[in-house]
Symmetry: C2
Subunit: 360 residues, 2 copies
């Protein structure tokens, strides 16, 4: 029998730090240091270890890493409802940001109620280093408490108006809405309508307040600023899903009630592209021309808004950058980080601007 300590038969074919170390002429501990980018590795050693890792196609065993270091190297998107409208961009952004930092991205759909019912269970079992919370969960103080309790770090995605505690990544929705108001005003509109978002969300508040404030500032008559809400959104996934299917209809209904006013608006700003699309479809159904008879704008810059006829005027939050910041906060920590309001971009399209599509 060889006295040379050959690698023991392992269940997985994978190389371990010790295999790499043996090949590079160092201990496994040193290989570990290289993996973790610890300082005080001599350049020569670094080189040899890296070469050995490449030769053996070494990939660190995440389970062992997690077990020993009590980190999971994964982040979680925790959200009440995965919709079609901007989640693709959110998930894409998170996925890339995670890849870039060598983290896994876990998706967990979970209503506040679920999270509350079994916070210990669900939140602990997530087994993750941190969570990204998307708008539907933004104002959920109890959930944040539960997360604090189990010691999970998190980042909320929120509009700048959000006075909430705790780390958050902000978009400057207010500024975007101001730009939109200027655009509509410059087109000559004087009577305005707003289709508000789901109640209880800071984004709903932020966009609505900014719309009204900007209009007043521009010189609009208070009587010519109308706002209609949509019916309350239950956060259970089933209900949200059902509503996801009908949110556009809610936009249509809201349009109806705006048009029923004595002095109906000529320009409408909807909380989201989804509501705006419903409003556009409803207007078309009523035989109205958009934007000829009524201008309609949304928020999100969803792919879909760009595909309908007429393409929506909308406001684009830089989701990719925001997700990048979110992941960075979770990985690197938020300590001492200044609040940054990610600027949003007004994207003018034919749904408000007649110059885009000459009527046939």
């Amino acid at each position: 029998m060889s006295s040379d300590p050959l690698p023991k038969a392992r269940r997985t074919g994978k190389a371990t730090v010790h295999d790499v170390g043996r090949l590079a002429g160092v201990s496994g501990r040193t290989v570990s240091r290289v993996i973790n980018g610890e300082p005080s590795i001599s350049p020569g050693t670094l080189e040899r270890v890296k070469a050995a890792m490449a030769t053996l196609e070494f990939e660190p065993n995440m389970a062992a890493r997690s077990l020993r270091s009590a980190r999971s190297f994964s982040l979680c998107l925790l959200t009440a409802h995965i919709s079609n409208f901007y989640y693709a961009e959110v998930i894409r952004g998170l996925s890339r940001a995670c890849s870039a930092r060598d983290r896994r991205l876990i998706i967990q759909e979970c209503s506040i109620q679920q999270a509350m019912r079994a916070p210990a269970g669900l939140l602990k079992s997530l087994n993750t280093d941190g969570c990204v919370l998307l708008p539907p969960l933004c104002d959920a103080a109890p959930l944040l408490d539960a997360l604090d309790d189990v010691g999970l770090s998190y980042v909320r995605i929120a509009p700048a108006a959000d006075p909430g505690r705790s780390p958050a990544v902000f978009s400057d929705d207010e500024a975007g809405v101001r730009d939109l108001v200027r655009h509509l005003w410059d087109l000559g509109h004087r009577r305005f309508g707003h289709i508000a978002g789901p109640p209880g969300h800071y984004a709903t508040l932020a966009r609505s307040r900014s719309f009204t404030a900007s209009l007043l500032e521009a010189g609009a008559e208070p009587a010519d600023i109308a706002e209609v809400g949509m019916r309350s959104v239950d956060d259970s996934p089933e209900e949200s899903r059902r509503l996801g299917r009908t949110l556009a209809y809610a936009g249509g209904l809201a349009l109806d009630s705006l048009l029923a006013r004595p002095r109906p608006p000529t320009a409408i700003f909807a909380f989201s592209d989804e509501l705006a699309i419903g409003a556009v479809a409803r207007a078309q159904h009523l035989g109205l021309s958009v934007p000829g008879d009524i201008a309609i704008a949304g928020f999100d810059d969803s792919d879909i808004g760009a595909m309908i006829h007429p393409a929506l005027t909308t406001i684009r939050p830089p989701l990719a950058k925001m997700m990048d910041e979110a992941v960075d906060r979770l990985v690197a920590g938020s300590a001492g980080r200044p609040i940054f309001r990610h600027p949003v971009e007004l994207r003018v399209g034919p749904s408000t601007d007649p110059r885009f599509h000459p009527e046939p």
Copy 2:
């Protein structure tokens, strides 16, 4: 000093199998058996252990489980491009199916090229028990080889026409297209157009072939069946993303070329809702009434198709069920499982059926 073996100070506040065992009066090993649902636990023991787990809010340490048992308890959605159109439903379905089986869902965006360039790296580092491969990767034999090489199990999502090797979850696209053809034929249409999907995907082939075959069977003149493709889709995420933004425009261009034919079609079937939406928007831009002048149908039953005006006639694959089967195959294995073609559902809407929306 107490001789009672109190729980040692642990880094995390969490209870371990031993803590639970002590409380329940059994060994940690038995607790482990309960966790894993192993047989041959006496009912009394089972009861006490479960009670102890509840009392201590015990959650098994995933890292330790993974390390010891060489499983990761997580599944991965591996896809080239996360789009807005049906990914929400796919991810929702996977997320729930995973939750139900106590698995984590990891999302990995990854082009074939990326996967090929560093298969060892990327695929190994995924650290997952199995992968769900979505259409853009369906025909990627090299990727499947790479997955086989690293011993990762996987399930493809595919149309039934796909002759590919290996486990897959099938939807019966052909049957759905046949139903659609019957619907269009019954409405009196006799000249047809098809907007084909991205080249090289089995779904493109399946839907296109079934459309033509069903029409011929119904008695259509071969000269009155037109098909136009869309330009080739590169699978790099950047390119896909860019195309994601413009796929609807591709639908519009395709419509133009169908309308330019000597005997233009009166009914059009697009490979996807996304292409169909572009075609509808283009038709409306040209001043055509949908479905008055031209009927347009899609595929996917995306939320968005239901929101535009007119709402799309489309074909609904039961994605939630399919994702459930996919997860089940990965968790429980595919051995001896018969192929099941998930039936799809024709959903008729006003984009083909004039009875839905009386012209104003």
